[in-house]
């Protein structure tokens, strides 16, 4: 897939000073601001819940800020300020469409984003050796010093898969925007090339692909819990005892069942933030199933998730005569 330089130019790292000033400003209006800070090593960022002016100093924004912070929102009762990238902002739009959050209780800081890295990919390249220092050089490369020595990466070569086909680098909804908007040149078809490519496989090939992938699943439910649109959470039918849909056995049918439930529940709701796949410790490409369903939703209903707050998700409504579903004519 050729996706080189789809954005005009990789942006200079954001001035964190501007971000911190904005956080400081909205912290006066809300109870908590959710941002990022650096985690246990220099290539892992971690969500940062700011309740006190003193905690603002630690906020960062860089290529390691991979998390979609909106995932916490549907369960929070307080007034929240939140920092979002372009992709994350689509979740907010979807939340508002579904009535899962109250817009008035939310202050949004948007950041135009030219991509985040796939931390797993870096970890693999450095053989999981402890990282001592990470530095972003000339906006396009990374210098990572581990116990084994120094390694250089082009950021583009370790970019998260979703960023390579990002269509919305600039947040679609915000109260404050930090930095200049970025435009993407990626068309809809291009963004779904991986899906159409995979679809060319035979049914047997696809089945054996997924069998092999789901064999690894340990049913830790990280994919579900990281998913911002998986709002059943504690009431999930994968775990419920009554009704007892999915057995406690650790066999393929149970794993398939859970992942299909997850994917089907997200039909026309998944905003493709990729958190499910990122959270998976076993490296299962769970996002692809959801992308495939989104692809079908676009074909059937000409609908794309999380773009416009006034849209009605197709599964939230119905038409007596659907334009592209001709079951009445059978």
């Amino acid at each position: 897939m050729n996706w080189d330089h789809y954005m005009e130019k990789r942006r200079k790292p954001l001035s964190e000073k501007g971000l911190r000033e904005k956080i400081s400003q909205i912290l006066k209006e809300v109870d908590v601001v959710i941002s990022w800070k650096m985690g246990f090593d220099p290539i892992h960022a971690t969500p940062h819940f700011i309740r006190d002016e003193k905690e603002i100093e630690e906020s960062v924004f860089n290529v390691f800020c991979v998390h979609n912070l909106t995932t916490y929102l549907p369960f929070m009762k307080e007034k929240v300020g939140i920092v979002v990238k372009g992709c994350d902002s689509r979740t907010l739009v979807q939340f508002i469409q579904e009535g899962l959050i109250t817009r008035e209780n939310l202050k949004i800081i948007g950041i135009p984003c030219s991509g985040v890295v796939d931390v797993k990919k870096i970890m693999e390249e450095i053989g999981e050796s402890p990282v001592l220092q990470a530095e972003i050089l000339d906006n396009s490369s990374l210098k990572i010093r581990t116990l084994d020595g120094e390694k250089f990466f082009q950021i583009d070569s370790v970019l998260a898969q979703k960023c390579k086909t990002c269509r919305y680098p600039t947040p679609l909804i915000y109260d404050h925007l930090i930095g200049e908007p970025i435009k993407s040149q990626i068309g809809w078809d291009k963004a779904y090339e991986d899906v159409t490519e995979f679809d060319k496989k035979t049914l047997e090939e696809k089945l054996s692909f997924w069998k092999k992938e789901f064999e690894k699943c340990i049913r830790c439910y990280a994919c579900r819990n990281a998913c911002p649109l998986c709002v059943c959470q504690d009431r999930c039918i994968a775990e419920s005892r009554d009704p007892h849909f999915v057995s406690q056995k650790l066999e393929l049918p149970e794993k398939f069942m859970f992942h299909f439930i997850h994917a089907i529940h997200l039909a026309g709701r998944c905003v493709e933030c990729g958190e499910c796949e990122r959270a998976c410790p076993m490296g299962i490409p769970v996002k692809m199933m959801k992308k495939k369903i989104n692809y079908e939703m676009k074909q059937l209903f000409d609908y794309e998730t999380g773009i416009n707050v006034d849209d009605k998700p197709p599964m939230y409504t119905f038409k007596v005569e659907e334009e592209k579903i001709k079951e009445h004519e059978l």
Binding site: E124, I218, A222, A226, Q248
Partner: protein, 355 residues
């Protein structure tokens, strides 16, 4: 250490082929983005470079296992008498684990205390543990998030291992630790190992220094006092765990977590009693039949996890903490929750609070 032997690398395949004839041989294998323990099927898939994504725990303490099957049978034509027939399901397989890490093996001794060294033994786990042989590979360097030395382990720790092998001089020096470990030395492919002992001693010193240096950033982790005041401070837990997703990554990848659930999976006339791993991070873990849940939110659940590993367990088992420092919960947490940071802060508050 007991007997030893040296295996040249070009003989590894033949050695493992022979070993796999003595029982089910389980080795770490690379499977597209993860390293998992699977039945040995050839040396080309063996992956010993870095610790496996999932620990060896699941080979002996299965994630899901059937205790027994049951059938209801009517006696005669009357409806008043139904018999229950039970069919036992005791696993008799000999299991040989080759290539776990010392921390994985140490994890088993944490579980042994609970399931075996007690008067209410878990016969299923015990049987499997008795029938298992573990050879660990000593580590070459620390991995991201490791902290074995901070919790009293080490890259050459012997606790829980039956044998240990060290990669040196284009081969492996294999040393027996327990009587059971001799199974790894009963091979004509091995050369005498004595001449390599000095080399191994040097390697051990070097790696231990490296790991120690890395663990020094963490420091020593000690059991927490039950009198700790900060432990009941809800704001402390909220500060650290607002970001927790409440998923099961940390517990399911942990070599020492052993909590489980029991379910009767049944149709009308028959069924199975299943024991499967459970995770204290899940809402359902403490959900009672009445609908009441004593740990309804993630702060309380995580506090229990920290308490169990660093306070309640050491209290019950003479100061041993239920953590082997493998670092998986740190390395694989989707939101980078760092349990070390939390425990250290609790320890620090304890020091400050002491008279």
């Amino acid at each position: 250490m007991g007997r030893n032997g040296f295996l040249r690398k070009d003989r590894l395949e033949a050695y493992l082929n022979n070993l796999s004839k003595k029982g089910g041989l389980y080795v770490p294998k690379e499977e597209k983005g993860a390293i998992v323990f699977r039945k040995y099927s050839g040396v080309s898939e063996l992956s010993l470079k870095k610790p496996a994504t999932t620990p060896a725990k699941s080979i002996i303490y299965l994630q899901s296992e059937t205790f027994f099957r049951f059938m209801f049978e009517k006696e005669g034509n009357g409806l008043d008498k139904v018999n229950v027939r039970i069919q036992e399901n005791m696993d008799q397989e000999i299991r040989i684990i080759f290539g776990a890490r010392p921390c994985d093996a140490k994890g088993f001794s944490v579980i042994d205390r609970v399931f075996i060294d007690t008067d209410t033994q878990d016969v299923y786990y015990k049987k499997r543990r008795e029938n298992s042989y573990i050879a660990t590979k000593s580590c070459d360097s620390p991995s991201s998030g490791c902290f074995c030395i901070s919790v009293g382990g080490g890259p050459f720790d012997e606790e829980g291992s039956d044998a240990q092998f060290t990669e040196i001089n284009g081969g492996y020096l294999i040393e027996a630790i327990t009587e059971k470990g001799n199974i790894f030395l009963e091979s004509e492919l091995l050369e005498p190992g004595e001449t390599y002992l000095e080399e191994k001693r040097k390697r051990k010193e070097e790696v231990e220094r490296l790991v120690k240096e890395y663990c020094e950033r963490v420091g020593k982790i000690e059991p927490l006092s039950p009198k700790l005041r900060l432990f009941s401070d809800e704001d402390f837990w909220k500060k650290h765990l607002s970001k927790c997703l409440s998923c099961g990554v940390c517990t399911y990848l942990c070599p020492t977590c052993y909590c489980f659930n029991i379910t009767d999976e049944k149709t009308f006339y028959e069924g199975e009693r299943i024991r499967s791993w459970d995770s204290c991070m899940f809402f359902h873990f403490t959900l009672e039949a009445s609908g009441h849940n004593p740990r309804p939110d993630k702060f309380k659940r995580f506090r229990n996890r920290v308490g169990h590993k660093f306070m309640f367990y050491p209290e019950r088992y003479s100061g041993q903490i239920a953590c082997c420092g493998c670092g998986r919960c740190v390395r694989f947490c989707p939101v980078s929750v760092d349990i070390r940071e939390i425990v250290l802060e609790l320890m620090k508050s304890e020091e400050g609070g002491r008279e």
